[in-house]
Symmetry: C2
Subunit: 353 residues, 2 copies
């Protein structure tokens, strides 16, 4: 699971909780009247519509800059790398073609850990420099995988699914619902599609421009996107190296993202199975006793939700305890429930301090 | 985040929820009497003590087999790989030393995507074989990272922390508490420690056995653990290749795991900040209105917990709606609460069907 996947729901939550004040939209009531599936689109539309509000804008700005940051880091990294390796170009041996181009190419081959070995460092300084650049490059690729790529793919996804459904007359809410339900599956398919395009493009390019036979071209493509990089076949023409700079970066990141999505898909599948298993388990008296948070002999809807979500592993005792502590401090009149009276009392004790 | 990290809390939850039937251990009551920090050890001890119960054992068995599975897959993979590459050993060119050893070495260098290029395939068949083995090898390494390594490290962690605290007279519950609070941080440190040991071992070995000078040895180590593998320096003696088989596998996996833990640490830090921010936010009347799930005008402890956990992004409307649906079906008398009476009614309707 990438970092972005963790932050997105947090942001979504903030949107949802802050802008749903209409009493008609009470969650529990909605649950009684509307089937489960209709929730996602409603909330997603609300987020979309709320974009004009200043708070939403500041939250969206938090999403965008991560991409900007990634791009800026990448440019800085490649810039510094190119300058460094260009300055020590006489201490690098191998198939050289063009000073600056070779430096960028070497930088990309190193940061993606492809490491063909067609150009290798040939002095103590350049060797240490390569060590520094491979570690920082790995970290940067990790950052791209966790932030940028996922975001860009999600944008594409919506367009793709809209295009797929343009013939079937379905509303935007139904599209959004479908995206929500099969999010990870769509992501897998899409990134696999990108990967196929990149593999074909690489093979055709290597066969045409680098004049490899088709099998060797495909072998070089596989060896590159997996970052294996034996180096017996690599990019040795000027055009080839220009293409390589962009193609190696995008294809290695694409494969990495594919593996991440597959892992996410598997995790989600297992989680869904657990949810199903927890919900279908017969509720017993023991469960009721345990779920009874306020110890009043009956289990309210909210108590039941907490109990089941705990069983599903979505929340744990730590989370609950922290919130309960906050609840206690707010429940000034010790009634066991929060009301406007409590808030007023809390307010006065705050200002009294 | 690895898959195991997702499953572990699920398992922990199942332990916690099924074995805490003692009415003295009511969560809400405990929260009133005990500070937050003391929860973790209590629950962890309970899990430990429950190991004799048949249910716990079957759950633990679910953890162990994942390691067994990883080892079995690895052995099968290396076995098939060795046989395949041994059979086509005449179609592989480069620095050869010993038939079987070279095959295992080539297999490890390929699956970890190090790809030195000191031995490379030299026919259509071997090239395609290498393609197959690099993709499946990547998937296998991903599996090891997500399951085996994390589990083994967690085992080590407990021992390490116990050893660290052996002089300070602290109880096991305090140790467990410290592990729980700084879990990811300890994991980062520990895997970094392992990594340093592996780097030093590799450098010393390459300097002594492969007779590289220290800088070259270190350069080769960096080039290997990052899976860069330029191939200008690699293992070219018999002893070197035997060492390489074990060292390459463990060091590349170790570095991968290190990056995963750092990512996890960052995510957790951000999540903790969000929790802090949500809890410190002043509760308003609007919040109360929104949090009031059953619409009775006041907010109970459980309702408040759900509202805040939603705001933290730990749970979402989908999760809640699914459980509420289950609640509705159990609340046969439509009282808005579950009691033993509901269960009896539900039972009779079940048997009546």
């Amino acid at each position: 699971m990438t970092n972005r996947d963790k932050i997105q729901p947090l942001l979504d939550q903030l949107h949802q909780t802050h802008h749903m004040v209409d009493p008609k939209k009470k969650r529990f009531r909605r649950c009684k009247s509307a089937p489960l599936g209709e929730f996602a689109p409603v909330e997603m539309n609300e987020i979309k519509n709320d974009q004009s509000l200043p708070r939403s804008k500041s939250l969206l700005d938090k999403v965008h800059p991560s991409i900007k940051k990634v791009i800026i880091y990448l440019v800085i990294y490649l810039g510094i790398g190119t300058i460094c390796f260009y300055l020590v170009r006489n201490k690098i041996k191998g198939k050289k073609i063009d000073g600056v181009l070779d430096s960028v190419y070497f930088c990309v081959v190193t940061m993606t850990t492809v490491g063909y070995g067609d150009i290798v460092p040939d002095s103590a300084t350049t060797k240490l420099l390569a060590c520094v650049f491979v570690f920082s490059g790995m970290a940067l690729v990790g950052m791209i995988l966790s932030k940028g790529a996922d975001y860009l793919l999600e944008k594409q996804e919506t367009l793709l699914i809209k295009a797929l459904h343009i013939r079937r007359k379905v509303g935007p809410s139904e599209i959004l619902e479908e995206i929500e339900t099969n999010k990870v599956r769509y992501k897998c398919f899409m990134v696999a599609g990108f990967l196929i395009v990149l593999v074909v493009a690489g093979t055709v390019f290597l066969a045409r421009v680098e004049r490899l036979d088709t099998l060797d071209a495909f072998y070089c493509v596989c060896s590159t996107i997996t970052t294996l990089g034996y180096g017996d076949k690599s990019f040795s023409t000027k055009a080839g190296r220009i293409f390589a700079i962009f193609w190696i970066l995008s294809s290695t990141i694409c494969l990495g993202q594919f593996f991440l999505y597959v892992a996410e898909f598997n995790t989600e599948k297992r989680q869904k199975e657990l949810v199903k298993c927890v919900l279908s388990r017969r509720t017993t008296n023991v469960d009721l006793e345990e779920a009874d948070l306020d110890d009043d002999g009956v289990v309210g809807a909210a108590e039941f939700v907490i109990y089941k979500l705990k069983e599903m592993g979505k929340i744990n005792q730590h989370d609950i305890a922290a919130v309960l502590k906050e609840f206690e401090s707010l429940d000034v009149d010790q009634s066991g429930t929060l009301s406007t009276a409590d808030l007023i009392l809390a307010q006065s004790s705050w200002t009294g301090r």
